[in-house]
Amino acid sequence: MGEGVHISGLGFISSIGNNAKQVLESLREHRSGIEYHRFLEPDLSRVRSGGTVKGFSFPSHGWATWTFPEHLEVPRNLLRSLSPHGLYAYYAVEEMLAHSGLSRDALSDGQTGLFCASAGSPFLLHHYLKQMDESGGKRGHPLGVVSSISGTLNFTLGAHYGIRGGNLGFVSACASSSHALAYASEEIRHGRHERMIVVGAEDFTAESILPFAAMRALSFQEGTKASRPFDAARDGFVGTGGAACLLLESEASLSARGGKSLARLAGWGQASDGFDMTNSDPEGTGLTTAMNKAIKDAGWTTSEVDYINAHATSTPVGDLSEGKAIRAFLGPAIEGIPVSSTKGLTGHGLSLAGALEAGICTLCLQNQLIPGNANLESVDPAFAELLLPVSPEPRALNKILSNSSGFGGSNVCLAFEKA
């Protein structure tokens, strides 16, 4: 298994809070970040809800028109290169740095790496490509590419923070930032880095979210109750954006600087369905395998798991296959191990989801709290055997699992342990 990998810093910009304290309060109070939302003007789609990110606005593609919380100064030369989710990510990284106490010198010592996950910024990409089309290729913003393509977080944050360790991105759709965390942990386990900064982030714009309506994956329900994982009335996911940043750190680095371990990333597993581009294997076989690999990597038994943070996005098909996967994984232990999806409160952050939920799991372990399944008013009979709390509850937590599943049937399970 190797040396312990500690989570020693957190940062959030999310629909349920713009810092760890707010996110925890929202979890405790079961407070949703989802509201009535229209993405376009006029919006002729049937989508009526979103996990809105508060305190930020992007009225145009020009950074000079953007507004953001004033408690942090955003360096102008960085701002000019950022996408909306890059700006969210900057706030999350800065909170992580303040939270962890990691010195800025450590960022450039060659022992700190940066792994990121986002789909890029379709909002900016669309604008710049339109500009190219309209000008016959004559006109193009010099930062058009680096601010908009997948990888933008690595380019911009890596340069800004002077990262001299590894710097790369992950593109497994909704499993991306879980993959980023998993491979970041490997970097520390194998002694290649002492510290890994992991960022998952997405824009919250029409360009990032609405195309999923064409796949019939989005909920058409309105407002707070639209995201309802495991509920019989679920009809699709609610999109959200934001950023989550976690600092993973070796035992040696943490001790040397007197840092605090918030939780440990004890192990992980991955397996794919090999079934379909967009839909998960109906039997959830890939996810079951990923979960079994995760606990094996962590050196746990099934019955030692105290809680499972499900991927469940509130889609009819996806939740069903995860339900089967969890049932197959837990076996006889199924009655005693609670399962919840926090996407009922946050919405589905796509590439952001894995990191956001890892951050939530860290808060859960620190505070001995299980989030409830929001909007679970009528449990789909397919999940009758699962223990699905509808409200947050205090619980003794030592070992928890977090699932993420992406397009192409890519499944990742992360195993977190109390510090």
Partner: protein, 118 residues
């Protein structure tokens, strides 16, 4: 000629003096207004207040050494100019631009060629 509405769209979020300099230049084509526009845009990109940094406004101010201007900043400034005036600036033309004075003279020469065409 680019419309006032389009100028306001393209310079949305920029400081008012920058917009005013551009509108004045559009109207009267005076070099002083073009200089104000260029310096205004450059300083906004650098997050420098021209009013608070009068010592950096002279023609001898070196772009790289005194203002820490990088090539990408010049590229962005030129993009704003290209976009406002529908011109193209070739990379090799920039090779000799080292000071604020060089930059102003360079952009004046481009605007003079626009004026002569119109």
């Amino acid at each position: 000629m680019i419309s006032e509405i389009t100028i306001r769209e393209k310079l949305a979020g920029y400081p008012e003096p920058v917009l005013e300099a551009c509108l004045r230049y559009r109207q009267d084509r005076r070099h002083e207004d073009l200089d104000s526009l260029i310096v205004g845009v450059l300083f906004f990109l650098l997050d420098l207040d021209p009013g608070a940094n009068p010592d950096k406004l002279g023609d001898a101010t070196r772009l790289r050494e005194d203002l820490q201007v990088e090539s990408i900043t010049i590229a962005e400034l030129l993009f704003v100019v290209e976009d406002l005036f529908d011109v193209e600036v070739a990379n090799q033309d920039l090779a000799q631009v080292r000071t604020l004075g060089d930059l102003k003279r360079f952009l004046r020469s481009i605007s003079d060629s626009i004026n002569s065409i119109e």
